[in-house]
Symmetry: C2
Subunit: 207 residues, 2 copies
Amino acid sequence: MDHHERREAFARALWRVVEQRGVAHLTLREVAQEAGISHGALQHYFTSREAMLSFAVDPAWEQKSLRVRRGFQELGDKPHPRDVLRVMLTEMLPLHTDARAASRISAACVLEALHNENIHARARDDIAQGRVVFEQLICQAMADGHISPTRDPVAETNLLLALTGFTALIELDVVEPQDALTAIDQYLDRLFTRNDHSTRREEERSR
Amino acid sequence: MDHHERREAFARALWRVVEQRGVAHLTLREVAQEAGISHGALQHYFTSREAMLSFAVDPAWEQKSLRVRRGFQELGDKPHPRDVLRVMLTEMLPLHTDARAASRISAACVLEALHNENIHARARDDIAQGRVVFEQLICQAMADGHISPTRDPVAETNLLLALTGFTALIELDVVEPQDALTAIDQYLDRLFTRNDHSTRREEERSR
């Protein structure tokens, strides 16, 4: 294995530690143990816990992008924007093993970010990038008449991103994955309700 | 100070550690140092990191309940259910210092819960309890005609809880607190749209 492959192997060991033992165990020592090498040898690849965590986020994001792209392919040539948003939203949730590991690494990063400027900047950029894609999709769907022009694209984008709050609810078994999907579908159904505009007007008149 | 008061003082030291240094530093050793006592002396009060974290969640929840109750008082005698939900939702977000500390302790618990049955059961119960209150409010608002009877109370409850996803977006500076509030207000405005039922019907006919 070359340097790059070894780092990848260590990142996988790190993922296993987070997935099986939890973020509290995410130390160079425990990752070295999981990877079957000495603490000193691991430090040759990662100088700190932060460097290791930063590096581990890449595969998490790559796997997610891959799943999203696969989901898009299944939608065919001219997908409805509602279906595109649904793929993006559901792949953000811990609905299967891969997504769960990625979502836990992300959660670990968010907590770490609160006290670490580098990780904060990194996590912020990653999520802000995703946010731009969501907003473009919503603006395009509004321009194409799929979403009412009375909707506020910024607020709608923020609400969609906020629905990642289902992650903790699913992880804690407060909401079943199927119920999260049902709720998201109802949410998207309403977002894509075309008569929203006229209704709002009617309502204002009736008050 | 008696035993109880001392434990409270240690819980506050723990909060300071989480707020200022982050969850990675949440160890008996660092909390003892913050509280100005020896590691051994702290173990007299908390036998493990888990016991300490469990204990620290109580004041977080109590402070939140207190802020929610204060918010309710400001709404007066016969508050509109929309305003009641708004108080509950916004107090779940890290919009001021107290709420931020509580929200970080909660996030730490959620991550810890993934690998610790006791904390999982505890966090699950706390959130499930809150979920029941949200669902009762929504059902009552539907019965009173404030929310359309076409809405699904389970999905609506789950969506409202999922909006706690704003927490990470605010903490990472991806969404400004004011923008989160704007989005939540628009969300609640639509939830409380009374003509929702007839619109849906009209739409179905027009398809």
